[in-house]
Amino acid sequence: MTNILAFSETRLGELRRAGLETVTAARKVADATGGQVHAVLAGAPGIAQHAAKLAAHGADVVLVLEHDAFANYNPEALTATLAARLGSGYRAAFFAASALGHDLVARVAAKMKLAYASDVTEFAFSADSVAVAHPGYTNKIVQRFVLKATPALISLRAGAVLPAENAKAGTVEALAPVGDPAAVRVKVTLTEKAAGGKIDLGEAPVIIAGGRGLKEAANFKLVEDLAAAFGNAAVGATRAVTDDGWRPHSDQIGQTGRLVSPDLYVACGISGAIQHLAGMRTSKTIVAINKDKEAPIFKAADYGIVGDVMDVLPVLTEAVKQAKAGA
């Protein structure tokens, strides 16, 4: 029981970066323990085209589950199939700590009546247990657990393990669904990308976030312009702003919204309420632009500019464009 399973998340036929992170994590464990990595790829017919990429990232075997009923996320059929497969004897299984990964790992654990570790940032395998760390109390505390269940079911926080190539055979095998995947109670009827092909907050290396200091919804254009100047940036917002309907709830960063840690976080007109800081304080570099020099955001920021975002943002956007053009 040394093999490790990695669930490789796809969406609308595309492989997600999180799907490579789980394979990379599984490869690291398998290299240390001598097992094989079995990556699971589920989707509508044609999804097998991504098998080569999983092989390049360390999958010894790619288990392909192709069926029209997997065109959208099919939680009950995936759960039945994965729980049966895992029951045949695996040391561990990695899932992404994404919206779907959180759902799936809990369902598989429930089906197998096992504890699991959620949103894991660190893991260390020993003979009969896995020591894991994951954030708690809205990221203000690191919780350390020992997961004794086998298989050890783990959802991996985005960025905890970065995708790395380490090519293996990646032999493709068909994985038969358990039960009729079309005869399920929970059905996803539509999957749709957010408008504008935006970079997701959880995956963007740079986040430009806006708060009440922008005064009105239309001024978020200044935030979007700065994000566009970076090119690899996503736009986030405070809860005050999403509650007022300036931005969708899916853009909210903080205690009850997304918890992010990009390389660079630029807080524009954000005072830094403790609930907001909970969602972004683990960012590598934090910049704050705010009129009030006493605002708590300046205590969290590496670099602060005291000033009106309406004046500072257009100048910063131009400067970033020039820096990018010169780079």
Binding site: A99, A117, R144, F145, V186, S250, R281, I305, V312, L316
Partner: protein
């Protein structure tokens, strides 16, 4: 819970001095959504359940003052971070049915495990939809929306069902004075929690590494060139 934390001497809990317990945000949304459903239908009853020490009675009273009809405390004095053990106790309480919909928060904001609602559904043999941002219950069918990273999906399942609630649906209302008075007369039953075996135990809590103190580099747009230089040369993110 609000505020900054200190870790207790045991190393496996927080120092509760000066902290006030409150309903977890997502559980507050779940209570609100349930109350709104019965208000809109002009029928039905909302029962709120909490597992924990006697301090949770305050949280249950809050839900009653928002408009829930009955409350049950599954009494257990030690903190539990094992979602399966908690779900086992909830399932023991709920095994005889008598409900159409079970609503839970998407996660507890303390343990952040996200497991209890899904474990509960499996133990009760019910369909479950997690982390939903919109909900419509009509004609025996649950229709919901879930936010994904940079996308969303629409999901359906039949009643009875379990749903777990994310941002976007509703904010917990502030109880009115009338609601607070009425809540005092509503039933709050206390029973021992029939916890499942605990197999996932917190070993240790740590504070994350403190950020080094930052600095204000200037005022207004004149500070932009220095910021860009620092982002390039010091932080190396540009």
């Amino acid at each position: 819970m609000e505020g900054r934390f200190k870790i207790a001497a045991s190393g496996t809990g927080i120092d509760e001095a000066g902290l006030k317990y409150d309903m977890s945000d997502f559980d507050g949304y779940a209570a609100e959504v349930a109350i709104q459903i019965t208000e809109k239908a002009g029928a039905g009853e909302v029962t709120v359940i909490s597992l924990g020490p006697d301090v949770v009675q305050e949280t249950l009273r809050k839900a009653l003052s928002m408009g829930a009809h009955r409350a049950v405390q599954l009494k257990h004095d030690a903190p539990v971070s094992d979602g399966l053990a908690v779900a086992t106790a909830l399932a023991a309480e709920l095994k005889d049915g008598g409900y159409d919909l079970i609503l839970c928060g998407r996660m507890a904001v303390d343990t952040q495990n996200r497991s209890t609602g899904i474990f509960l559904a499996e133990l009760l043999g019910l369909p479950v939809i997690s982390a939903i941002s919109q909900l419509n219950v009509e004609g025996g069918v649950v229709k919901a929306r879930r936010e994904l990273e940079g996308a969303y999906e629409l999901i359906e399942c039949p009643l009875p069902a379990v749903v777990t609630i994310d941002e976007g649906i509703a904010r917990a209302r502030y109880p009115s004075l009338k609601g607070i008075m009425a809540a005092k007369k509503k039933p709050l039953e206390v029973k021992p929690a029939q916890l499942g075996a605990i197999t996932y135990q917190l070993e240790k809590m740590e504070l994350p590494a403190e950020r080094a103190a930052g600095r204000i580099i200037g005022e207004g747009k004149d500070a932009v060139p220095e910021l860009v230089r620092l982002l390039k040369e010091e932080a190396k993110v540009l």
